[in-house]
């Protein structure tokens, strides 16, 4: 037997944090850095679990003072009504200021054209980036996580965007220790990702621990859906079902919440947080692989959208 130079140390001290405490502390540090260094930050808020988690962490970071950021929702016009109701409830409850960038407005006045495939996800980029410019936001929090997608695995916590909101993965600033660099020129802004190091399971475990209220569509319920591209989509005015697609009632839930045109439901009996956690831990599919059509457009779909200003 050979064991070389392994200096044994004592086991973990009582001062070791659990992984959820460590992630929480890191995210709070990021929120406070932005509050300390930027003039006009905003939190991207879709009503999905990641943005709900961001808001929860921001509330804890500044307690007992109010959150020093406003919210920005990019409304595709195809949002789930339950999610919009949740959004408005939260805004009122915490007396927050909500900005809305509306894709429908852009389409109505001819500034954007509906895509032949009906998905409005890529159409969010222009309303989002124009709102950032017109409101002069200099820091924009996004709920993106590096575990979601391989282009996001390369994303920094502080990600500089030029005056066109573009991401250039080859010109990223190295990020050393926890010394985040928020310097930017006028017209540029910084995208900030406080959940960078969280995984889907971490998010759910934290939601369970903190008993955070979520829109009901995250939990199993009966819904009228139809199959398209291997996903269960919610039937509705947004453009489904088409000829040959059949609506049926199924027991489903959503793993991500985006636009109805590109977010699929999964068959599920998980009607509580605990059951959702069990289901995710056993799942052999990533949340995006299971339920997002927008990432399947090409091998580099996410990278290409991020380059253009997507979150």
């Amino acid at each position: 037997m050979t064991t070389v130079a392994s200096v044994s140390e004592e086991t973990d001290s009582p001062y070791a944090l659990t992984h959820l405490d460590a992630l929480e502390s890191e995210a709070v540090h990021i929120f406070r850095e932005v509050a300390g260094e930027f003039e006009n930050p905003v939190i991207l808020f879709s009503g999905g679990k990641d943005s709900i988690l961001m808001l929860h962490l921001a509330l804890k970071a500044f307690t007992p003072a109010p959150v020093p950021f406003s919210l920005l929702h990019v409304d595709t016009g195809h949002n789930f009504p339950e999610v919009l109701a949740y959004r408005d409830r939260v805004v009122a409850q915490h007396r927050l200021r909500l900005h809305v960038a509306s894709v429908q407005d852009y389409i109505d006045r001819g500034a954007l054209k509906e895509r032949p495939d009906g998905t409005r996800n890529p159409l969010q980029i222009i309303p989002l980036t124009e709102k950032i410019q017109s409101e002069r936001f200099d820091a924009v929090f996004g709920g993106g996580r590096r575990d979601e997608e391989k282009a996001r695995a390369k994303e920094r916590v502080f990600s500089l965007r030029d005056e066109f909101s573009q991401w250039d993965p080859r010109r990223q600033r190295p990020e050393l220790w926890n010394l985040y660099n928020g310097r930017h020129a006028p017209g540029e802004h910084v995208r900030v990702f406080p959940l960078s190091n969280w995984t889907e399971l971490d998010v759910w475990q934290y939601i369970a621990r903190e008993q955070i209220d979520l829109p009901q569509i995250y939990f199993a319920h009966e819904r009228e859906v139809f199959a398209r591209n291997g996903m269960w989509l919610t039937a509705g005015d947004w453009g489904g079902p088409k000829d040959g697609e059949h609506v049926e009632k199924r027991q489903v839930r959503y793993r991500t919440v985006g636009d109805m045109s590109c977010t699929g439901a999964v068959d599920s009996d998980a009607d509580t947080i605990e059951k959702v956690i069990t289901e995710i831990a056993a799942s052999r599919l990533t949340e995006r692989g299971a339920t997002r059509a927008d990432d399947k457009l090409s091998e580099a779909a996410m990278e290409d959208r991020k380059r253009e200003g997507y979150f």
């Binding site: 070389v4 659990t18 970071a61 190295p174 010394l179 020129a185 956690i277």
Partner: protein
């Protein structure tokens, strides 16, 4: 399939941040791929995407490197451009892996990955043993004071799984690393390709009685004895609600950078030097008696002092000295060079101050640790000593004492570029600086 019992345990696991180092030929992608794959962290759709892309390139089997090469340019050129972060978990622990590329821009990328890592895995090819690249990786781990180093002697299958080959490499590496001051080296013989000693213990190396790579990652301690640490609290943000409910609340928010703070502690606020007492600690809304690194908390103090972002709170008997002159080892991470006379910004903790690069006494050649005196300039990936004068006094600790309050970055004031990663004080933990024959007589 994960059981419910394991799920309950998962909520109470700890988090280990680690980095990998090794050139492409050492089998780093294979090791990372195997760690992810054998710990069941690669999900079906990710594997299918890799299989689809591999088939599209005419490759027979799935190329696991495609799991980790995320960018279009990386896939097109078949190289890894940048640090990527990977996540996986076992029932015992959560892992954040800084996957650093091994190509020519290795130094700044490895420094970036190592800056937040508590452990570095350095790979060597069993057929080649300790080579220049290995010494370079060990030197960076030593410079960045990564607490734990794993030497993974890979491709043991290609040397007949011989104990003598492993023992010789392990001994040579451990001697070198110890000389540099690396506190903890664990050597493990593996075959990433065959899966020996990565996740599963090898049946081919009965003579090895130590842990597999994953077992070691699961059990290495993630925090240190805080009793001997200097406590440090950089003030990030002042919380003043000024509401009817909290008319007089004035809290100093921040993340504890080192050590512990307790209610009742006498503390000094720097740079003003005023002293007061901690009357309360808020842990994100919950009052606590004691808090420690890396918790984000809010401190409440007895006296109404003028304290703002950038100040440092430290125990009154153990406050750091402040100085406008900093000597440090730096790694230059930007493409534009750093030169003597350069006017820069220096970010230390939560404070950013103007600074001047007064001198660059030496540049270090990582291959043999020789020193080039007065290079005048540092290019991308260079490591050197610098003397910096700051516009305001800073309470910087030696990096050897505190990775958080002994580190800083230099920023270009004109365009905001992150120029340089800095570590205050002596470079290596070794009692005598390691010198090669070529640099006799040169001051470091």
């Amino acid at each position: 399939m994960t059981t419910t019992t394991e799920l309950t345990d998962l909520a109470e696991t700890t988090l280990l941040r680690f980095a990998t180092a090794g050139s492409v030929d050492d089998g780093k992608s294979t090791l990372v791929g195997r760690l992810l794959h054998d710990s069941k962290s690669v999900l079906t759709d990710q594997l299918e995407a890799v299989e689809r892309a591999s088939a599209g390139r005419g490759q027979e089997g799935p190329d696991l490197a495609l799991l980790t090469d995320g960018l279009r340019a990386e896939r097109e050129q078949g190289i890894t451009i940048d640090v990527a972060y990977r996540y996986f978990a076992t029932p015992k622990r959560r892992f954040i892996l800084a996957d650093t590329p091994g190509h020519v821009q290795y130094t700044r990328n490895m420094v970036t990955g190592a800056s937040t890592a508590e452990l570095t895995v350095i790979l060597v090819d069993a057929r080649n043993g300790v080579v220049e690249q290995t010494r370079r990786h060990a030197a960076i781990a030593a410079l960045l004071r990564v607490p734990h180093v794993v030497l993974a002697v890979n491709k043991m299958d290609l040397v007949g799984y011989q104990e003598s080959v492993f023992a010789a490499i392990a001994e040579e590496f451990t001697a070198y690393a110890t000389e540099l001051g690396v506190p903890d080296v664990t050597a493990i013989p593996i075959s990433a390709l065959e899966g020996d000693n990565v996740v599963e213990a090898s049946g081919n190396m009965d003579w090895y009685g130590g842990p597999t790579v994953l077992e070691h990652l699961e059990t290495v301690p993630v925090s240190h004895d805080l009793a001997h640490c200097h406590a440090r609290f950089p003030v990030q943000y002042v919380i003043r609600p000024q509401t009817a409910e909290h008319p007089d609340y004035r809290g100093y928010a921040g993340q504890i950078a080192a050590g512990t703070f307790r209610v009742g502690d006498r503390v000094t606020v720097l740079p003003s030097g005023r002293t007061t007492t901690i009357t309360g600690i808020d842990l994100l809304g919950t009052p606590v008696d004691v808090a420690w690194t890396p918790q984000s908390v809010t401190l409440l103090l007895a006296d109404d002092l003028d304290i703002s972002r950038g100040d440092l709170i430290a125990p009154a008997p153990d406050a750091p000295a402040t100085s406008q002159d900093i000597e440090a080892t730096v790694c230059h991470v930007a493409d534009q060079p750093l030169t003597v006379g350069h006017r820069v910004l220096l970010k230390h903790g939560t404070r950013t101050v103007k600074a001047l690069v007064k001198d660059i006494p030496s540049r270090l050649t990582l291959d043999d640790l020789s020193l080039h005196p007065h290079p005048g300039t540092l290019a991308a990936n260079d490591i050197g000593r610098v003397k910096i004068r700051t516009a305001e006094p800073l309470p910087a600790d030696a990096y050897a004492d505190s990775r958080r309050t002994g580190s800083f970055i230099l920023i270009d004031p004109s365009d905001g570029t992150t120029l340089t990663a800095g570590m205050v004080g002596e470079s290596f933990a070794a009692p005598e600086p390691v010198k090669s024959d070529a640099d006799e007589g040169w001051d470091f």
